[in-house]
Symmetry: C2
Subunit: 205 residues, 2 copies
């Protein structure tokens, strides 16, 4: 599916507004104004407000994918954890708005048209984590009995918590601006998640 310049303007405007005000809190006139287009253009190009959301998710699916296939290249299982977490956080952090929209709307809209595509990607990501755990067990470094689903939930949840509570956390951490917050996520938070997963996978009992 390809979009012209004006359609992309609308999609980007919608993303900005959905991420800050939510889908239901955003009117098509808001989107039209933000994108500098006539209100009717949205229905002309996308059919309806609901279909715009569907199309938006469809459009962003590639950005939701996290490329961890080269993980097999790096050496030890401990290093694999570091690389995986780094890729995850960098990818999510560079698409903060998308992840905010997904987080908010996927909980509200019980049946998203596009959720199947996201599901597949999630399942693939779970398999990557499982393979890292198994390679670590084979190396004799990781303990057995750790569920990839729980580790994935911990990683995603910790990151998303930083997205959803930015105002509170930014103040608590004494960070001045949004850029500084993004930097904190890519350094300190990344290291924390890496350390947590490695600690968990090597923990006795």
């Amino acid at each position: 599916m390809e979009f012209n310049e004006k359609q992309i303007d609308i999609l980007l405007a919608a993303e900005r507004l959905f991420a800050t005000k939510g889908f239901d809190g955003t009117s098509v006139r808001d989107i039209a104004q933000e994108a500098n287009v006539n209100v009717a253009m949205i229905n002309y190009y996308f059919g309806s407000k609901d279909k715009l959301l569907d199309t938006f998710f469809e459009w962003r699916v590639p950005d939701f994918m996290i490329n961890v296939d080269e993980l097999s290249l790096v050496g030890s299982a401990l290093d694999k954890v570091d690389v995986m977490v780094d890729r995850y956080v960098k990818s999510m952090n560079s698409h903060r708005k998308l992840y905010r929209v997904i987080a908010i709307e996927s909980t509200l809209k019980q049946r998203m048209l596009i959720s199947e595509a996201f599901k597949k990607l999630k399942i693939h990501n779970l398999e990557v984590i499982a393979s890292i755990i198994n390679s670590g067990i084979a190396e004799g470094v990781f303990k057995t009995g750790n569920d990839p689903i729980l580790i994935h939930s911990m990683m995603m949840g910790t990151f998303m918590n930083f997205q959803m509570n930015q105002v509170f956390l930014q103040e608590q951490l004494g960070i001045a601006d949004d850029d500084g917050y993004g930097q904190y996520i890519e350094t300190t938070l990344t290291e924390f998640i890496q350390k947590t997963i490695k600690a968990l996978l090597t923990y006795e009992k």
Copy 2:
């Protein structure tokens, strides 16, 4: 602040709807129907839809508080972690709807009237975690250099991730119904978070 039976009906109906459809996705007529009252009663008792949300949060503040004061009674720092996590998860799990509403609306509404109260409680909870870490360091069991904010974010984020992605996770974990999901959270997920924090705090380097 005290409420009569009809006001509580409205607050409970609002909670149910806000948790599933969000504030903007819920109309006052929806709430009135869910609570079996006339539409005008909502404005009569609460002034406006916005003030209803404020009042709802105010009403639920006590349920947002997590009682961890008796933590000092239990023995080792490792046990304190177990007790704290257990209290946290049990409290959050018994007020799932409230936590969903907070999670969704606190990100959208940039300035909630009640957010100061929640902030205070969060800060208090952070102090409890800090004291547990310090007692563990004094015992010689925990390593230094762990930020309570990050541990708190991990715990909350992991739990919230289970709230926000219930459909996906319930299917992946092969859990039949909502009760089973709640049970999983109170057993397996609780143990996972406990283990993760203890692993992290005792992790070398």
